[in-house]
């Protein structure tokens, strides 16, 4: 690999967007923040990748025009929580091929009003035709049943998922950009209202408005080197139980290409739409022992021995629509650039996973990115 991430930024996450804020403004704000972090301006940009559920009726080229960007490379990704990894994969190849020199990857959404409700009701035709009419509003019920399957398969309890949520909230208390920062105890988690049994309030991400962006260029000293990017789409044709993600198949290649393995990882930013999916992805990446998942969570994550989602993750920072996938990439980049403030960890290698796009019963997209600090 010969590419690096040289800057990362966000549009502020909020549950209550200001009047007049629009999706394009959210995306532009995140892009400008990332460029400023990289010491660059829009005039330096010749490549743009965009992921957003609410940009319509505009497309990536409209956003480029509104942002005054003159480009030789442009793409729009539609895979939600997996979009960051997908866009990074294409951006890396573009830089390697000489199609662009400075690429901004940006993802985000304005989810004010009923935007989120409309989004989940018409997510795809399977949702529109076979889930929304049940009635089912959003995917919580699907992942509630997946969590039950995982509990049965791995011997996990609500206490174990609560430990993950509590650990991530602990990180969020150190992140001024997180929407939910007040300390969370296991008792708070267990006594919270049930949303879809066995999922409670703190198992479900809070939808927010916001955006995330990174800047990708050819490798340079002091930046975050991209060691590998691998993606998987529709790995099991929706024939499985959802407990194994596409990461299971691509992780060996990703580690091989990166030249490092799970034991070298100092930080994991995994797509945390639900604690059960954090567990599933960490197992698929080889970072959690499936034969002793509860023990692994206690030894590794609760103790902070393996920092996971140090921004607080989506569960505490908020899920800004399509930015959910980029959120982890921004956090990992900040950590490896040494710009994570109070929550800074000593990390040389990080892995970032993406997941998402529920086709009918569970997500079909999975991405993994391995990064290295060079500072």
């Amino acid at each position: 690999m010969t590419t690096s991430i040289i800057g990362a930024g966000q549009s502020p996450y909020t549950r209550h967007p200001e009047p007049g804020l629009t999706t394009p403004k959210v995306l532009a704000g995140a892009a400008l923040a990332a460029l400023a972090d990289a010491g660059l301006t829009p005039a330096d940009v010749d490549g743009l990748a965009v992921s957003s559920f609410t940009l319509g009726p505009d497309h990536a080229v409209d956003l480029a025009w509104r942002m005054g960007l003159k480009l030789t490379w442009l793409m729009q990704d539609t895979t939600g929580g997996a979009s960051a990894g997908g866009m990074l994969q294409h951006a890396v190849r573009a830089v390697e091929a000489g199609d662009a020199r400075t690429i901004v990857l940006v993802a985000g959404d304005h989810l004010g009003g009923d935007a989120f409700t409309r989004l989940v009701a018409e997510y795809n035709t399977a949702t529109r035709d076979h889930l929304t009419p049940l009635p089912m509003a959003g995917p919580n019920a699907l992942f509630a049943m997946l969590t039950t399957r995982q509990m049965d398969a791995l011997g996990l309890t609500r206490h174990d998922y609560g430990a993950l949520a509590v650990a991530q909230r602990r990180w969020a208390t150190l992140n001024p950009g997180a929407v939910y920062r007040s300390p969370l105890t296991l008792d708070d988690y267990l006594s919270a209202p049930i949303v879809a049994d066995p999922l409670g309030r703190y198992d479900c991400v809070p939808p927010v408005t916001g955006g995330d962006a990174v800047v990708v260029t050819a490798d340079r000293p002091g930046a975050v080197r991209v060691l590998s990017v691998r993606t998987s789409y529709n790995a099991d044709q929706q024939d499985g139980d959802g407990l194994t993600t596409g990461l299971r198949e691509i992780a060996p290649t990703a580690w091989d290409e990166a030249g490092v393995g799970p034991s070298d990882i100092d930080l994991a930013c995994v797509y945390d739409d639900y604690p059960a999916m954090v567990v599933a992805q960490l197992i698929d990446l080889g970072l959690l022992d499936h034969s002793d998942a509860a023990g692994s969570i206690t030894r590794g994550i609760t103790t902070g021995h393996l920092p996971v989602n140090t921004s607080g993750g989506q569960l505490s920072a908020g899920q800004a629509g399509a930015a959910g996938g980029m959120h982890g990439l921004v956090e990992a980049s900040r950590q490896l650039l040494g710009r994570a403030g109070e929550r800074q960890v000593d990390a040389r290698h990080a892995v970032v996973s993406g997941y998402g796009m529920v086709l009918y019963r569970y997500g079909a997209c999975a991405t993994t990115t391995v990064l290295a600090a060079t500072r």
Partner: protein, 119 residues
């Protein structure tokens, strides 16, 4: 409920897509059979399934994951009447079915995917 679902309502099971080449039953519909690559589909009716997992929503709605026999599709349903995991249940495409049953919102299974090119 959209007119599409109302027009295909049935109480004795649900209609799903069936590949005419390998006979695999698929739900939701596909354009190309993921098992054999076929594009010629018919309709099969599945009348019963087994409840795998159940979740109760905050408003009391009970949803379930339902497996069907002979490697049939796994369905997401709303339970009408009480039932537990491992129970067998009748499937219905009628949201107003008095139950006990599992309501699976359907739609008209799509038929063959056009593959012939014009001469």
């Amino acid at each position: 409920m959209t007119p599409r679902h109302a027009s295909r309502r049935r109480t004795a099971g649900i209609d799903v897509q069936q590949c005419r080449d390998c006979h695999r039953r698929l739900f939701p519909d596909r354009l190309i059979c993921p098992t054999c690559g076929g594009t010629d589909f018919g309709v099969a009716t599945i009348e019963r399934g087994r409840i795998e997992q159940v979740t109760v929503l905050a408003d009391g709605t009970v949803l379930a994951s339902i497996s069907t026999a002979d490697d049939g599709p796994t369905l997401i349903a709303r339970l009408i009447g009480s039932a537990d995991p491992a129970d067998e249940t009748r499937l219905t495409g009628d949201a107003e079915d008095p139950g006990p049953a599992a309501f699976v919102p359907g739609g008209a299974p799509t038929s063959s995917t056009p593959t012939r090119t014009t001469p």
